[in-house]
Symmetry: C2
């Protein structure tokens, strides 16, 4: 039952009577070995248990075939969706993906970057920590290896390739929709600054002005330190609703998780946001968080094209690896958001 275990390619070569260099070629690309020999090797492999050593194979190759991915949090379905798209695209390209999570900590992010550099990774794909990533670390990554930023674009890294969403378009789109169909919306922000959040806020303000309305931002003050998105949205709107404010208004939330909190606050005050509902309260979000269709009411939002972002990030990394780089201007790819009309607005 249990096959004899073979630890090195050397042992394997004597066991099945094929030279080690030939085996080496076989494991890297079987087509580089004559078919008859391939058969013999495979027959031999079926008789024993042998796995080439990961470290030894990577140590002396020009290319490790690994790409490193960093995401900022795990407890957010937006990033897991993005990560899924990246992992699938990378797998299709025959790459090994090593994923690290920053856990909201710049020091952990920096360590992950070090790890990637120490592995001579073929490229790094990073969704940064927004405001407080360590810029020096990113600069070193860029100077050492193909490097593409995803999702959030720090203003301090203007010279790095980026793939993300066109927030001016996406936020403009939903702002315009809300204005067209009902009361001009207020914007529910998050205080801990993040570049996407800032871009969305700016896009909201500019769109409102263009349409001739007065922008109004709330939630910029921190209620409880380290609050999660939902908690923040609920706390801010609970306070407002308790004062009798905003109960008949439109509220555009900086993202869906904040909107989930806002909807919850509404429910606690007996309010049901919706374009068809009485009272005039409407709540909308941004991102198309996977649970949006299942909320009560279901959440109207703008979808980010995470799948396109993940695929493009991988294909761009591959381009850079192959040397197809335009020295000079970085490549910035922004995907449009698409409106998801549901019940809440």
């Amino acid at each position: 039952m249990t096959k004899p275990r073979i630890n090195t390619m050397e042992e394997l070569s004597v066991a099945i009577g094929v030279s080690r260099p030939t085996l080496s070629r076989y494991f890297q690309d079987p087509t580089r070995v004559k078919e008859k020999t391939v058969k013999r090797i495979e027959a031999g492999l079926a008789q024993v248990e042998y796995i080439p050593n990961f470290f030894a194979t990577r140590l002396n190759r020009k290319s490790t075939g690994i790409i490193g991915v960093i995401i900022p949090y795990l407890n957010d379905l937006f990033f897991t969706k993005l990560l899924e798209s990246v992992e699938v695209a990378a797998m299709d390209a025959g790459l090994t993906v090593i994923t690290q999570c920053s856990h909201s900590d710049p020091a952990i992010e920096a360590r992950a970057a070090e790890t990637f550099m120490s592995m001579n990774v073929d490229g790094a794909l990073v969704a940064p920590l927004g405001d407080h990533s360590d810029q020096a670390v990113h600069q070193r990554l860029k100077s050492r290896l193909p490097f593409v930023l995803m999702d959030s674009r720090p203003t301090t890294m203007p010279d790095v390739d980026f793939v993300g969403t066109n927030h001016a378009q996406s936020t403009g789109l939903i702002t315009e929709y809300l204005c067209r169909v009902g009361e001009p919306p207020a914007f529910l922000a998050m205080p801990r600054v993040n570049f996407n959040a800032l871009e969305r806020e700016a896009a909201y303000i500019s769109q409102m002005k263009m349409l001739g309305f007065e922008p109004e931002v709330l939630g910029a003050e921190q209620i409880s330190e380290g609050a999660h998105f939902e908690e923040h949205g609920e706390a801010i709107m609970d306070t407002e609703f308790a004062r009798g404010k905003f109960t008949d208004r439109s509220i555009l939330c900086v993202n869906d998780r904040v909107a989930i909190g806002a909807i919850r606050a509404a429910a606690r005050h007996g309010l049901t946001p919706g374009r068809a509902a009485k009272g005039g309260l409407r709540i909308a979000g941004h991102d198309d968080y996977p649970l949006c269709p299942y909320l009560n009411p279901s959440l109207t939002t703008v979808a980010q094209n995470t799948d396109a972002i993940g695929k493009k990030a991988v294909s761009r990394i591959l381009e850079i690896i192959r040397g197809d780089v335009n020295e000079g201007a970085p490549q910035i790819t922004l995907f449009d958001g698409s409106l998801k009309l549901r019940e809440s607005a």
Copy 2:
């Protein structure tokens, strides 16, 4: 500004005038080098950019200091919570964590296991794919390295250490609660069998019988192939509610994501589940999915102690690595669930 880059420890040793073996000892454990020498090395390192090669360092060590973790999906906050707990615990223990996701595919899970074996990982922590993991792969993992299963325990792997939730207790607890406070519940299942789901269903049935009630299971038939949890819960309950059935009943869902779908179906039929609500409909879940408090109504459920599970899984792996193993019986650790009373039941 930009420091000279040094690629090998050899170069570094000539650059700062310390022998390579001393540097090697320093990088593995600075306390094994005299303090004065440490200072000299650190002063030297500050002048240059050098990162020890990850592969070379791991190639010839007895211990790689790496543990491999496999989770079945990314798009589920339960697993990301568990993963977070594992990663933090492992980091605290000074281990490097390599995480791979099976993406619901046994072949990908198998490849991840191969990768771990090829890396001579110190140990593997696996949350299996439930029903359709490749047993042979798990057996090889167990025979090769310290191996602990998390979350779901395949009946085919009775001899492997396991850390998870005591579903008899947790499901019994909420079943008893529902029976005590209102109508005895029906059980909303998922058709694609998973060991946890089966255990919960069995626990529900046994608790109902013990309390003298007739168990009733629904949702065991597949409505749409490959449906997600929420979709399934919504589809099943939508059908039932449309027939006028279960509208005044208690429903215990196999997990929170199914419950989210069930609540959504209720809302679409103008029903509001809740212990305080009229009509008698109540919906409860299992797991304490992070969004439970923010649903409308907020979801009554049983929390799994994911933090304890993650920590224990890591500490158990460390025990095995250190050789503190009881040959013979596997160590099975089950944590109790705790009731989370909210609005929905």
